[in-house]
Amino acid sequence: MVGFRLNGQSVSVEGADSDRLLWVIREHFKITGTKFGCGAGLCGACMVHIDGKRAFSCQISLSEVAGKSVTTIEGLSPNRNHPVQKAWLAERVPQCGYCQSGQIMSAAALLAETPRPTRAQIVEHMSANICRCGTYPRIVRAVERAAREG
């Protein structure tokens, strides 16, 4: 039994220590905004926050989050009103949308640490996340907007 906080709630799961957090979130808790994209920490579709830092949930085992606080896109804000989500809507970033939870979680983690990132910092940080629809130009604009408008 592993206990941790998930989007502010205390939860515990009976599972193998090696079970990946991604599948626990998606299939056990049925919280599905966090996506499976590559299973290898290469695409960022599975990005969540663990104690406020971004992490590839497909690479994190259940035992690693014991006692920690995990936040998914569903826990980022109560009503799509996190500055990053507002900026994402204003810039109309999503196309197919599949990668966007991961993109938003990455961006939110960046701004939490670096409220006024340079363009180069944005590019470096956000290059961990793949968007196959090619929404990158809008991702940059949205991160800059979120930094500006808070």
């Binding site: 193998a16 079970d19 990946r20 599948w23 998606r26 299939e27 049925k30 919280i31 599905t32 905004g33 966090t34 996506k35 499976f36 994209g37 590559c38 299973g39 290898a40 290469l42 695409c43 579709a45 998914t72 896109i73 569903e74 980022l76 804000s77 799509r80 989500q85 994402w88 809507l89 109309r92 970033v93 999503p94 196309q95 197919c96 949308g97 599949y98 990668c99 966007q100 939870s101 938003i104 944005i122 590019v123 470096e124 956000m126 290059s127 996340n129 793949i130 968007c131 196959r132 629809c133 090619g134 929404t135 990158y136 130009p137 809008r138 991702i139 940059v140």
Partner: protein, 733 residues
């Protein structure tokens, strides 16, 4: 048109059906409830057509048959109806239409199929006509109620209005008593709204799916759950056509969480309690596969052979486009020849293929959740696999985490996976392909070999153009019945070799079909991105041979196409085409007429001469897709297709050894990341032409990037992708 309707009536088709067919779509127009005039029935009354339901509370549901994969046509089609109906968009709910090809099929394809940048262009007029008829029914009903002439009434969003008396009635109220005549009011094209009066089209309306995509609530099939659901994984043959000869299931079956190992006709399936157990067990399977002819396929050796076959004009090809006589080549002052190659490319849609199926215990019906570009095709594929009729399959089309052509195939193999495993398990099963499955069992844009030869007259005009392509045809693999119905033309290979805007009076463009048994697919733009690379590179080779600026050279080929001239003017200005760039940078241009959409792009690139590595700094794009219905969405699609295709131009390639794919995940199949992306500026020109396609058109950037590399280095790379090694070889070459 008149003659057609008479003919239809003679054949016994009633007026209503005739009208519907004239509008390009069959539809039914029925009052579903409240036909008897009791108050209660009127309360429950709905004004309903196949496309529109108006409820007493004023909310309106609009059916949209388009698969939504980020391109925006789910919203755009509904918006077209809302515009002509004069609906209040804030009260509109967009719903996925039922699965019915006759009513909702794409007019170009005859089935519900979201592909080919063909949704808005083909549905635009029929949906406007339908909505105008529905609006007329509203007006006629109010006219009767108020005892006024219909011509005295007009509409504002959600209301019928009588200007003379100031009376207004909401559409919801009309729905409570409206009667639909047996013969629908006739609407002529001239009765349609003038675009100058559009309230929604031409403005930017937020796509209905966007809000759900910033909070994780958007539902894809991979997100679905069903009570008692199991998880499935399938090991497929590494080589197409190969089947399991012998299977050692022991290690897989012993994996914790595994329930069963099921041998399928084409592979081996795992049933497990969670996805990780299914994946782990799959990797433990030991399968001997039958040898097939494709087992000897080696892509790099075979591509050389394709190039040889393209060059060999003694073999007869299948003509794609022909005019005049290419024998005029003998009159040319300058003759240029070249051989080009393009590699296999992989879709890499972000959502790995998956589906959820729930087959009845008797195996005689099923419910399916999947992301598909062709829901009725998938429905029929599942029906064939289960040996039941299609009406026994209830299919729920979900949002797609990327499509790009991968999810519209005749056999819907990833959906059938779930159906077969659910039948075996007698439980709902969600089958998820891993990324490695998705690549190794990918279906690729085919590799192609090209031979080109063109002759120039002293005035720079192209007197003869010869282009031959040798390739396998993707349509033959992905949808054999459709390929046959299209007279076995190599549509996906050849689209984009024809160049309708360029003046090429003597031309012969043909295809030599190869059949090596590879798994193939259309992929965003089908032939256009590779063919834009080939033909626009070659146009630049001609400009160079004629010692002319590439823009000037194209202008001469586009004399008599004012739309193209205007587009090039815009593009030249936005890119500062004639201004000098820093040392080491080159500008490359492409112009394309893809399915009636004109697009021009300029790329600015530099090359690291030591490594051959390419950096694209800027891309400017100007697009004329006729009347721009959703300008910002058009810009987004062009940006996206540019990024998508930059990968195919510079780095993405699938190679095969012994018939099997050599790549396996995003570390060895590298798609563009933010750090690879140039500054992109898109100018959307809205013109008075009918709306044409937009989703694929940015893919023509391949030509601009190749030309920018040549301009920056003086070296021409004739093999896509233009990898660092190939650029380096050309530099040294």
């Amino acid at each position: 048109m008149k003659r057609k309707s008479e003919r239809l009536e003679k054949r016994g088709i009633n007026r209503r059906e005739a009208l519907a067919q004239l509008a390009g779509l069959t539809f039914s127009f029925t009052l579903s409830a409240g036909a008897v005039g009791t108050a209660a029935a009127q309360q429950a009354g709905l004004l309903q057509t196949a496309w529109v339901t108006i409820r007493p509370d004023g909310t309106i549901s609009i059916m949209s048959p388009a698969a939504e994969m980020g391109q925006g046509s789910r919203t755009s089609l509904a918006l077209i109806i809302a515009e002509e109906l004069d609906a209040d968009w804030s009260r509109v709910q967009v719903e996925m239409s039922p699965l019915d090809d006759k009513v909702y099929g794409n007019p170009r394809y005859g089935i519900m199929y979201t592909a080919g940048s063909a949704s808005v262009p083909t549905y635009y007029k029929p949906l406007r006509m339908h909505a105008a008829q529905a609006r007329r029914v509203l007006i006629d009903n109010v006219a009767e109620k108020w005892g006024v002439q219909a011509t005295e009434l007009t509409t504002e969003p959600g209301f019928v209005v009588h200007r003379a008396s100031g009376r207004r009635m909401s559409y919801g109220e009309v729905a409570t008593f409206a009667r639909v005549p047996a013969v629908l009011p006739v609407v002529a094209e001239a009765d349609l709204k003038s675009p100058a009066n559009f309230r929604y089209l031409g403005k930017d309306v937020l796509r209905v799916d966007v809000p759900t995509k910033v909070d994780g609530s958007a539902r894809y099939s991979i997100d679905m759950h069903a009570p008692g659901m199991l998880y499935g994984a399938v090991l497929r043959a590494p080589v197409e056509g190969s089947t399991p000869a012998s299977v050692d299931k022991e290690a897989a079956a012993k994996t914790a969480g595994v329930i069963d190992v099921v041998t399928l006709p084409y592979g081996v399936g795992i049933l497990a309690r969670n996805p990780e157990a299914a994946f782990a067990a799959k990797s433990k399977l030991k399968v001997a596969w039958t040898a097939v002819s494709a087992s000897n396929f080696d892509s790099s050796a075979m591509l050389d052979r394709y190039a040889e076959r393209a060059k060999d004009l003694t073999v007869e090809g299948k003509v794609w486009d022909k005019a005049g006589d290419v024998a005029a080549m003998s009159e040319a002052k300058i003759v240029v020849e070249a051989v080009y190659r393009t590699d296999f490319a992989y879709h890499a849609q972000m959502e790995p293929l998956n589906a959820l199926a729930s087959v009845t215990a008797a195996g005689d019906a099923a419910e399916i959740w999947c992301g598909t570009q062709a829901p009725t095709v998938a429905q029929r594929a599942v029906a064939r696999a289960l040996n039941v009729s299609a009406d026994k399959i209830t299919l729920h089309p979900m949002l797609l985490g990327g499509g790009f052509g991968r999810r519209g195939h005749y056999d819907a193999e990833y959906v059938v996976d779930a159906a077969l495993l659910s039948r075996a398990a007698k439980a709902p099963v969600k089958v998820i392909w891993t990324r490695e499955d998705d690549i190794r069992n990918g279906r690729f844009r085919p590799m192609t070999g090209h031979y080109l030869k063109a002759g120039l007259a002293t005035d720079g005009q192209v007197v003869a153009w010869r282009h031959r392509v040798a390739s396998e045809e993707a349509l033959a693999f992905q949808d054999a019945p459709r390929f046959k119905a299209r007279n076995e033309r190599a549509i996906f290979s050849m689209l984009g070799t024809e160049q309708p805007s360029y003046r090429l009076p003597n031309r012969l463009i043909d295809h030599v079909r190869q059949t090596d048994g590879m798994r193939l697919s259309s992929m965003r733009g089908t032939g256009n991105p590779p063919n834009a690379f080939v033909t626009e590179s070659f146009i630049d080779e001609l400009a160079l041979a004629y010692k002319t600026d590439p823009l000037e050279f194209r202008r001469r080929l586009l004399v008599g196409v004012p739309r193209a001239g205007a587009l090039l003017d815009v593009l030249a200005a936005m890119s500062n085409w004639s201004s000098k760039r820093p040392a080491g940078r080159g500008l490359g241009l492409c112009f394309r007429n893809e399915d009636g959409t004109l697009i021009g792009m300029v790329a600015e690139a530099s090359v690291e001469r030591r490594t051959g590595e390419v950096r694209v700094h800027n891309v400017w794009a100007a697009i004329d897709a006729g009347l721009a219905l959703q300008p910002d969405n058009i810009a987004a699609q062009i940006e996206g297709a540019i990024v998508y295709t930059l990968g195919a131009v510079l780095s993405e390639r699938v190679s095969m050894k012994n018939g099997a794919v050599e790549q396996s995940n995003f570390y060895d199949y590298q798609v563009p990341r933010l750090s690879d992306v140039p500054e992109i500026e898109v100018r959307v020109l809205s013109t008075s032409n009918p709306p044409s396609g937009i989703g694929e058109m940015g893919g023509n950037v391949s030509g601009a990037v190749a030309n920018a590399i040549a301009a920056a280095t003086g070296a021409r790379v004739r093999h896509m992708p233009l990898t660092a090694e190939r650029v380096l070889a050309a530099l040294r070459g």
